[in-house]
Amino acid sequence: MIARIRHGWRRHWYAYAMIAPVVLVLGVLVLYPLAYGFWLTLTDANSLNSARTIGVNEIEATYKFVGLDNYADILFGETAYDRFWSHFIWTIVWTVACVTLHYTLGLGLAMLLNQKIRGRTFYRLMLILPWAVPTFVTVFGWRFMLADQGVINAGLELLNLPTPAWLEDSFWQRFAAIMVNTWCGVPFMMVSLLGGLQSIDANLYEAAELDGASPWQRFRYVTLPGLRAVSSTVVLLGIIWTFNQFAVIFLLFGTKAPDAQILVTWAYFLGFGQQPRDFAQSASYGMLLLAILVVFTSFYRRWLARGEQQS
């Protein structure tokens, strides 16, 4: 046994030495906080009983172990629907709606840009602007436009259309959130898919055309399969990013607008947007979120692997 370890060490020590820095960083900056966070979820820690310094006085932590009470409370406790499940459902709706819009709009624009037309480069540069400018800048642009008497409502009024209270009414808050996030996320999809489209062999289209395939059939049987590798990656990334999207909702509504908060921003609200700050519950939400993502990703990858074997 020891001999085997020693042999393995001698053979692989270069590799281990090279990954050591990352393992160290991951251990100190990710795994330790993760473990510590998990410990917090088993306690009733909040800003009143955690260790803190007020002036020169250091106050010791006084929170205590409560087992799995936090999880039970979040998932099954009284008002669990309002606190967790309503946000859970909204998060799913948000993720599905945003990623679907990102992908379809991104694909549509990519296909338009993949033709030989004049001004292609110019359009491309314009269309990736939402990605080029930092989100924390553009979201404020949207906030000004969506404000009560902002330009969007002024425009709608001009057309005699209803002027919703975008940033106050809960349905329109959600609508606005999806709209702004779609605006932010389409360029990445568009550019990635454009790359994918350009790597499809033009001969395939020619062959399909000779065989009498209609435009739809060519799209269905040449374009989509050709984009398979790119699509599976960008959709997975898109789902993870959207599910974890913090900046758009936080900057659009702050910690108000409880109905528009997805789970990530809601967890943030519990931990930092209210007094007293409820660290234990916030951390528990974090753990639940991570669990959802890990389970989802493993299924997604397995599903992909199966699809590849079949085709």
């Binding site: 692989h12 270069y14 090279m18 990954i19 990352v22 960083v25 991951l26 900056l29 990710v30 906080p33 993760l34 510590y36 966070g37 955690s50 709009l105 694909l107 549509g108 624009l109 296909m111 338009l112 033709q115 030989k116 037309i117 314009m126 990736i128 602007l129 939402p130 990605w131 080029a132 400018v133 930092p134 989100t135 924390f136 800048v137 404020f140 969007i152 550019v191 990635s192 289209y205 055309e209 435009p215 739809w216 799209f219 990656t233 960008v234 990334l237 974890n244 913090f246 900046a247 789970l263 990530v264 967890a267 943030y268 931990g271 660290f279 916030s282 974090g286 991570l290 993502l293 990703t297």
Partner: protein
């Protein structure tokens, strides 16, 4: 607004209609071409509008000009910019943003490069698991780490320091860079390593003298991505930086609109000053960025 964008995929189908024998491949019919241009123009306008709007507001001297945008044309002025540069914490924020973003970039890429190489070239027990851990860390929602990080930073007295924020950012920057660099190292022919080995270089020597210089474009993409991510990060920066001279831009910009007062005109001017260099930089490297982003995923 949205209805216009929603129509794009519908329009897309006819746009790809078969070219008849006379025209060259890929050149759409006139009618289709007009429709294509129409859709692209509308989409471009939608893409540009919010940014242009901020620019317009930045020229208006009054904080409520966003309600009367047409009035701005008559009284456009650069006063907001002067005021931002002379009377606000603009340069403090610039300094903080640069320290934090550059710190994250340098640390992230330095630490990640060796790992990317090891995972790309060497087979060792635990390799699959390491890749899986690296991938998993990338999907950490901020809600997982923010509470424990806050507590730990408080205990270590790193709250409200640049170092603390850089360390927090490294938790995402390092795994991501390692994954991305692995993708890049995979594209460098293995023969180069072998040639180095034959010439008597150790694996470290091969890495430092042969591979790193060749991987410069990949390193640049990783560095750039880390920079942009750290620069634009909102949640951790808003929570961990307390002193308003240590805010990064992402936090400083929010501080213009408090509950009592909203200095929208100054905010808009600051936003423009931040957006111009960042987006110019982005346009320079964006092509490499996309290739790098998707390569890591497809090859893993």
């Amino acid at each position: 607004m949205t209805t216009n964008t929603l129509e794009t995929p519908v329009e897309a189908a006819p746009a790809r209609t078969a070219p008849k024998a006379v025209r060259r491949r890929g050149e759409p019919r006139p009618l289709v071409r007009i429709a294509t241009h129409a859709v692209l123009i509308v989409a471009s306008l939608i893409a540009v509008l919010p940014v242009a709007w901020i620019f317009l507001l930045s020229l208006g001297p009054d904080k409520d000009d966003y309600l009367r945008p047409a009035g701005i044309f008559g009284k456009a002025t650069l006063d907001n910019y002067v005021q931002v540069l002379t009377e606000t914490n603009f340069f403090h924020w610039l300094q903080s943003s640069l320290i934090v973003s550059l710190g994250t970039t340098v640390l992230g890429v330095l630490i990640a490069a060796t790992t990317g190489y090891a995972v790309s070239r060497m087979r060792f027990p635990g390799q699959k698991k390491l890749m899986w851990v690296l991938l998993c860390t990338q999907m950490f929602p901020i809600a997982v780490l923010i509470v424990p990080m806050y507590q730990l930073l408080t205990e270590l007295r790193l709250l409200d320091t640049y170092g603390g924020l850089i360390l927090v950012y490294c938790s995402t920057a390092v795994p991501y860079s390692a994954w991305l660099l692995k993708g890049y190292f995979d594209t460098i022919p293995f023969e180069i390593d072998e040639a180095g080995r034959v010439d008597g270089l150790s694996p470290f020597g091969t890495f430092v003298r042969l591979i790193l210089p060749l991987a410069r474009p990949g390193l640049a993409v990783a560095a750039f991505y880390n920079f942009i991510t750290a620069f634009g990060e909102v949640a951790f920066a808003s929570t961990f930086m307390l002193d308003d001279t240590k805010y990064t831009f992402a936090v400083g910009l929010q501080s213009f609109v408090s509950e009592h007062d909203a200095q929208r005109h100054l905010m808009a001017a600051t936003a423009v000053l931040v957006a111009i260099p960042v987006s110019a930089f982005f346009y320079l490297v964006q092509r490499n960025l996309v290739a790098g982003l998707t390569a890591g995923g497809t090859k893993g």
